[in-house]
């Protein structure tokens, strides 16, 4: 009997001690350690980090490209002349001036180019006066280059 009683008291004491320990009434308080991450969770986290890095890199690249593609140009990048400001405004609505500055075309072909811009590239049509001003400017500032290859490059058939 005594043994049984002793055992029961022991059991109760053990339960009380463990209960108290678990709920922090005494003993060393130890934070519950989270379970180690599973391989799947590690992979997921890495994928998320990579995606974020990719996104940041893409945003940076886009910003860099935008900076290159939107050069801060002002009309004085073009040679002076009547119609320079109007030409700059009309053309740089879509494209930078590099392609203009590199072109050497006759007045007829500058005129034709405006048609092409309107019909094929979605440029806003110019009223007649505005158009004359711009074509005159382009033909004066960027006239057809004399053929460097000598007299044979001048076509005897060119009448248009």
């Amino acid at each position: 009997m005594t043994l049984t009683r002793a055992l029961v008291v022991c059991l109760i004491l053990t339960v009380v001690v463990l209960f108290g320990q678990k709920h922090g009434l005494w003993g060393v308080r130890e934070a519950a350690r989270p379970p180690p991450p599973t391989p799947a969770a590690i992979a997921f986290q890495r994928a998320q980090q990579e995606a974020a890095a990719r996104e940041a890199a893409a945003r940076e690249e886009a910003a860099r490209l935008a900076a290159v593609a939107q050069p801060e140009e002002t009309p004085d990048v073009l040679p002076p002349g009547e119609g320079r400001e109007e030409t700059f405004a009309a053309c740089t609505a879509c494209h930078s001036t590099a392609v203009i500055r590199r072109s050497r075309l006759s007045r007829e072909r500058w005129d034709e180019l405006i048609d092409w811009m309107v019909e094929r590239q979605g440029m806003n049509p110019l009223d007649a006066e505005h158009r004359r001003l711009i074509v005159d400017y382009l033909a004066t500032a960027f006239p057809e280059a004399p053929p460097a290859a000598g007299r044979r490059a001048v076509s005897p058939f060119l009448t248009d």
């Binding site: 995606a51 990719r54 996104e55 893409a58 945003r59 690249e61 886009a62 860099r64 490209l65 290159v68 593609a69 939107q70 050069p71 609505a93 879509c94 494209h95 930078s96 590099a98 392609v99 590199r102 072109s103 050497r104 075309l105 006759s106 007829e108 072909r109 034709e112 180019l113 092409w116 094929r120 590239q121 979605g122 057809e144 280059a145 004399p146 053929p147 460097a148 290859a149 000598g150 007299r151 044979r152 490059a153 001048v154 076509s155 058939f157 060119l158 248009d160």
Partner: protein
């Protein structure tokens, strides 16, 4: 060996003389019978800063290359082209910032497989924003098919269709445009709007088969995500198409990798068409849709004078609406010299010169490459390697002799498998300047 230095700066006098009155200049320089005369020869030599050993063979009316074209070195030399530095790229020749266009100097094209850092850049619209999730990028195939197909880049990567890897030449339809006289409109490309990268992707024909191409499907129409320059969301920056036969070619692919890496944004990430041998505009970047049509496509960049050439040659410089033109398909034969820059100065006493480069010919192959250092009087056959695979460019190499010190021009000319050579001048002039592939000339100075 070679110094990247520009040849003694051409005196303005001679160039101006030609620009003011070419006929008089020719008469002064060449004399009535077309022979380069004593004093004039000396003055041309002085302008170049060198003796001209093969002056007797210099064709009448052709300006020495050193006067006719700017040296391409990025050294900021007088008269050289403006260069552009882009992230992850070597310095390229600036054609324009908006749209962003840049050309590769010929001497940067010396690799068998062109690294992304050396690829030319061609845009018609704005560069779109990079996709947040490249694998979720969708490509739709519809029109004349039994079962419209929508497939993601992730699925393409996943191997639902066989992935193929090929070295494919990709060339702008306007490559060589600057050689036309009179000048034509558009970017003034030299020979450097070309690359030969190693592309990985799926064959377009496998996708067309999966979608069930109908008998009535005769033509493609391509769409990409790049916004129009004006920002108008209802306009395509470019939307071209090709005959169904080319779409079914085993080397026409939807690429998802370049040289083993994801495609850089500027080159069409995450997926683009690669249609080798035909104008680069058919290799739609940022590909979103292929519309199979029962008639030729009529998107932006189709019809009129766009990517079209005359069947019946027209007077250079004349006006033409292009109604009777045909679409430019296979690109013409062309070569580049990759180990010696135009304007290179060589040490005195240099008598032998190793030269090398690449040559290609659209749908065809290159049969021969010849080099002349005496203005075409004599030609020397170079070695030409076989292409690594169909549509890869071909390495050419050899050695030429220079009898004395002085000014020389290296002329290089490829011949395609049908026997067609690069001509002496750009022919079949057309308003937008397609198909110019004349013999190229690089000036060197010995001593």
């Amino acid at each position: 060996m070679k110094q990247k230095r520009q040849i003694g700066r051409p005196e303005r006098g001679l160039l101006e003389l030609y620009q003011d009155d070419p006929e008089r200049a020719d008469a002064l320089v060449w004399g009535r019978r077309g022979a380069l005369r004593g004093a004039a020869l000396a003055s041309m030599g002085a302008a170049l800063g060198a003796a001209i050993p093969f002056a007797g063979r210099m064709p009448e009316g052709l300006l020495p290359a050193a006067l006719a074209q700017p040296a391409p070195s990025g050294g900021g030399g007088q008269g050289g082209p403006q260069m552009i530095r882009l992230e992850g790229k070597e310095p390229l020749i600036l054609q324009g910032e908006r749209p962003l266009n840049a050309e590769t100097p010929e001497t940067l094209l010396d690799d068998e497989v062109t690294p992304a850092s050396k690829m030319f850049v061609r845009n018609n619209g704005q560069v779109p924003e990079a996709p947040r999730d490249p694998r979720a990028w969708k490509i739709r195939i519809d029109g004349e098919v039994n079962q419209p197909l929508e497939i993601t880049v992730g699925e393409l990567e996943g191997g639902r269709f066989p992935l193929v890897t090929r070295r494919l030449q990709l060339e702008c339809g306007g490559n060589g445009r600057s050689f036309f006289s009179p000048q034509t409109r558009g970017n003034q490309w030299g020979n450097g709007a070309v690359s030969c990268g190693e592309w990985t992707g799926v064959r377009l024909r496998d996708l067309l088969q999966a979608a069930g191409l109908k008998e009535s499907g005769k033509f493609t129409g391509h769409f990409g995500a790049d916004p129009h320059l004006s920002g108008d969301p209802n306009r395509q920056a470019i939307s071209r198409g090709m005959r169904i036969e080319k779409a079914l070619d085993e080397d026409t692919i939807i690429a998802i990798r370049l040289n083993g890496e994801p495609i850089p944004l500027i080159h069409g990430a995450p997926a683009r068409l690669v249609t080798p041998g035909w104008p680069g505009s058919l290799s739609q970047k940022w590909l979103t849709r292929i519309w199979i049509r029962d008639r030729p496509h009529d998107g932006q960049g189709m019809g009129g004078t766009s990517y079209r050439v005359p069947v019946q040659p027209i007077v250079p410089g004349s006006r033409n609406d292009g109604r009777d033109f045909v679409d430019l398909e296979s690109m013409p034969v062309r070569s580049v010299l990759t180990n010696i820059a135009h304007g290179t100065r060589l040490p005195a006493g240099t008598r032998n010169l190793d030269v090398r480069g690449f040559a290609w010919a659209g749908d065809k192959t290159v049969r021969a490459v010849h080099v002349s250092v005496d203005y075409g009087a004599t030609w020397h056959e170079m070695r030409v390697a076989d292409p690594a695979n169909r549509y890869a460019w071909q390495r050419w190499s050899g050695r030429v002799s220079l009898p004395t010190d002085g000014y020389y021009e290296i002329w290089y000319r490829a011949t395609d498998s049908d026997g067609r050579m690069q001509p002496h001048v750009a022919g079949n002039w057309n308003p937008q300047g397609y198909g110019a592939n004349p013999i190229s000339r690089a000036a060197v100075l010995v001593g």
